[in-house]
């Protein structure tokens, strides 16, 4: 045995004891703040920390647990807290708390300093399964809930604002068509002027006038005149082609504009349809009225509970992961093999923790959490929460919770009972068209939420009795407001208790929300009637505005289309008439020239032929007469001869 070595060991042991007495508290406080801060992802501060090695008791005067999402708020804070630790498991690096007492637990308290942790955890932050699916489903349900801006209707309806939002297109389109007609009219005028057909027609007329048929005598002059007429006719054909071509194009454009004008009715109808859709108010029926009234508020409340459970699970998961398991160890690090027995000890286990807490309304809540551990599969026990409290010693609030993470599918349930809750100046619903603000009342609530893995089931029964609604002191001026005021007043007068029952189910495949209340029937009939009537009135006002907006453009369109068409067709008709006149004149002169030519050429030859024929006929007639005479002479001579013969016979 080496004396010097023993002395060194004794000195080291003495130093350790001194450190335990004088320095360990500050060191442990920093270590704890660091570890808890890494778990929370935000700053954790301990004040007045004290640890006694001999009694294994840890205590502090104040603990602040900053919220990683909002570093200027504490997730919770406590006042005095004392923990009795089991010494044995500490040698196994297990933090087992036999009993814990925590005073004045408060949630969501303001911080004086920023709670951001400079060195944030390197772990990638992502939503847990619960936060992922259920949160998404609830968000989806919220988006599906009737988003009804009833506040707009409840106040003065600004028709102009709705009109600006709608931006009806018909007046603009009609105006555009009018401008198109104007441009077309200007274009047509210049196009017809640019054709130069007037000059052509005038010069053609002049050329035609220059041909004086009466002065034409000789056949050659007549032939030349005919040729000139042919050329004039050809020029006229060219002009006619130009007129017909331009007329065809202009006609097509007129047809297109007329077709566009035919769409005006359609544009107006489209705008009317948009007006109807814009002003459409969802029907308030027995099936959906409770969703209108309480759906949004209920879903938001469930989301709040969800966030609490999620934080529980996240913190638990962080604690469980605190000692990382390395599967491919770096050099010299090795791999830790776990030989935990089925009923071994978890890393952290609060066997029993009692606490007192204050709500925001300063209601004292006292309760306990049992078996909160980082490894329920090791403890075999789920975490149990029991809390109760109320004002003036009344047990009006009872909260129980069970957080079971022993199996692979975590099961968490929370049940809240509240009795004799005094309601004062509370908004019952976000729906502004019913009596939504309670002046006073007494409520009781029975709510249960169950989370199983990625599913959620919630059931709520909310009862309000001895209630009185806060209604406006004076009758509102606007007609709708007055109507709603009357509806609210009548509902408020008819009702002395409200019962709301709600069931929410978020499953991987679907989300079901069912809400019922004894307000449903009253609200359905009365409010729906008022709202639908108001919607019809607004629709009619907007339709009237649309009609007045389009009236002038339509009249303008009719006028300009009529004028343009008259102008264009008149011009074309004038050209046609001029052309027809020239054509007629040409034909007339051609006929006269031809007549004269015929007279000069064909007539003369005919006369000669006639003369020759007459002479020939006269000659033939002379010949015939001569021959007849000769025949007669011969005949006479023959008769005479015969007579002479006969006579000679006798």
């Amino acid at each position: 045995m080496r004396k010097k070595g023993v002395i060194v060991l004794l000195v080291v042991a003495a130093l350790f004891v001194l450190w335990t007495f004088f320095l360990s508290d500050r060191w442990l406080e920093r270590r704890l703040e660091s570890i808890l801060g890494r778990i929370a992802g935000a700053r954790v501060e301990l004040d007045g920390y004290d640890f006694s090695l001999f009694s294994m008791r840890m205590q502090w005067d104040r603990l602040q647990f900053a919220d990683a999402e909002d570093p200027w708020k504490n997730l919770f804070e406590t006042e005095y807290c004392v923990l009795d630790l089991q010494p044995g498991p500490l040698f196994q690096r297990k933090f087992i708390v036999e009993e814990m007492r925590l005073d004045a637990l408060r949630f969501d308290t303001a911080r004086e300093t920023d709670g951001t942790l400079e060195i944030r955890t390197k772990r990638k932050k992502g939503p847990s399964k619960l936060g992922g699916l259920v949160q998404d489903r609830l968000e989806q349900k919220l988006s599906e809930l009737p988003l009804f801006d009833a506040g707009t209707l409840a106040g003065n309806i600004d028709i102009e604002a709705i009109w600006r939002r709608l931006e009806p297109s018909a007046p603009g389109k009609i105006g555009g068509l009018v401008r198109e007609y104007e441009r077309f009219a200007e274009g047509v005028d210049s196009r017809l002027t640019g054709l130069d057909v007037d000059d052509d027609l005038n010069s053609t007329t002049e050329d035609l006038d220059a041909i004086d048929v009466d002065t034409l005598d000789t056949p050659q002059e007549l032939k030349d005149a005919l040729s000139r007429l042919d050329r004039i006719a050809e020029r006229l054909d060219g002009v006619t082609g130009i007129i017909e071509e331009s007329g065809g194009e202009i006609g097509k454009e007129i047809e297109r504009l007329q077709n566009a004008s035919g769409s005006v009715e359609g544009w107006i109808e489209e705008d009317m349809e948009n007006i109807k859709n814009e002003v459409q108010i969802p029907r308030i029926t027995l099936e959906n009225v409770a969703e209108f009234l309480f759906g949004r508020k209920l879903t938001e409340r469930v989301q709040k509970v969800l966030r609490i459970v999620e934080k529980f699970r996240t913190v638990s998961a962080k604690v469980r992961r605190f000692v990382p398991v390395l599967e491919v160890p770096p050099r010299m690090a090795g791999q830790d093999i776990s030989f935990g027995k089925k009923r071994g000890l978890p890393a952290v286990w609060f066997k029993k923790a009692s606490f007192s807490s204050f709500t925001k309304d300063d209601i004292l809540i006292e309760g306990s959490i049992k078996d909160l551990s980082s490894g329920q599969h090791l403890t075999g026990k789920p975490a149990l929460l029991e809390a109760a409290g109320g004002l003036e010693g009344k047990r009006s609030i009872v909260l129980t919770g069970r957080f079971d993470w022993r199996e692979s599918v975590p099961k968490d349930s929370l049940h809240l009972e509240m009795r004799d809750i005094v309601l004062q100046d509370m908004f019952l619903t976000d729906f502004p068209l019913v009596p939504n603000r309670l002046d006073k009342g007494t409520a009781s609530l029975d709510a249960g939420v169950e989370f199983t893995g990625e599913s959620l089931k919630a059931g709520i029964v909310f009862l309000i009795e001895d209630l009185s609604f806060a209604l406006p002191a004076q009758d509102p001026g606007a007609s709708l407001e007055r109507l709603l005021y009357e509806v609210s007043s009548s509902i408020a007068a008819d009702i002395d208790r409200i019962v709301i029952e709600a069931d929410l189910e978020v499953l991987p495949a679907r989300t079901n929300l069912a809400i019922r209340s004894n307000l449903d029937t009253m609200v359905t009939g009365r409010v729906d009637e008022v709202l639908q009537g108001e919607a019809a009135r607004v629709t009619e006002q907007l339709a009237e505005k649309l009609r007045s907006e389009v009236q002038f453009p339509i009249e303008e369109l009719d006028s300009i289309s009529r004028e343009t068409e008259t102008q264009v067709t008149g011009k074309l008709r004038e050209l046609d008439r001029l052309r027809d006149e020239i054509e007629a004149e040409i034909e007339k002169k051609r006929a006269r020239i031809e007549e004269k030519i015929e007279e000069e050429t064909v007539g003369k030859a005919k006369r000669e032929i006639e003369e020759q024929r007459r002479k020939r006929e006269e000659a033939l007639e002379q010949e015939r007469l001569k021959k007849e005479r000769e025949i007669e002479e011969e005949k006479r001579k023959t008769e005479d001869a015969i007579k002479g013969g006969i006579e000679s016979l006798f």
């Binding site: 045995m1 080496r2 010097k4 070595g5 023993v6 060194v8 060991l9 044995g88 498991p89 040698f91 196994q92 690096r93 160890p329 050099r331 010299m332 690090a333 090795g334 791999q335 830790d336 093999i337 776990s338 030989f339 935990g340 027995k341 071994g344």
Partner: protein
């Protein structure tokens, strides 16, 4: 500088008044320190033993340094050996489970593959190393000490201030 210090430690230890058994004892305890993790409770126990038992501390330090380097070099094999003993050697599992759930034992980090591999290697090597070291010290002192003292490098080391300084520091184990 580190090399000189190391050589000086060894020479001083070999020439010191310590018995061969003390020198060999220091070496095997240093070897254990080198083979297992310093974070293990074993290390604390071994350090206490080195301080309390009359072994040569300089040789323990030298043994730690040498076997730490060797451990670094053969780490994959130690990891594989430890993994085999802890996971694949099924008959031993009950022993590990029992030890694992004993207070304090888990602090030895015996369930770490490299620590277990180092312990297994130590169990195999401790006796041969102890015996060989003891014989080596005897042989050295009988046959080689005079020759070694005449080596220029040894002269240089002995003449250096560092040697004197190291001698003072490690004098506790002389």
């Amino acid at each position: 500088m580190v090399g000189l210090k190391f050589i000086g430690k060894i020479i001083k230890a070999l020439r010191s008044a310590s018995s061969p058994r003390q020198i060999a004892g220091g070496l095997v305890l240093g070897m254990l320190l080198g083979l297992i993790s310093l974070k293990s409770l074993f290390s604390a126990v071994v350090i206490v033993l080195i301080l309390v038992l009359n072994v040569n501390i300089a040789m323990a330090a030298a043994g730690y340094a040498v076997f730490r380097l060797i451990t670094w070099l053969v780490d994959p094999w130690l990891h594989a050996l430890g993994y085999f003993l802890l996971v694949e050697a099924v008959p031993l599992k009950a022993v590990w489970v029992y030890l694992y759930n004993l207070p304090l034992v888990s602090l030895t980090r015996f369930n770490n593959t490299v620590v277990m591999g180092g312990l297994a290697a130590y169990a195999v090597l401790v006796v041969p190393v102890f015996i060989l070291m003891k014989r080596f010290v005897v042989l050295y002192r009988d046959r080689w000490e005079q020759k070694v003292q005449r080596w220029k490098i040894v002269q240089a080391v002995k003449g250096s201030k560092i040697f004197v300084w190291v001698g003072r520091i490690t004098g506790i184990g002389a």
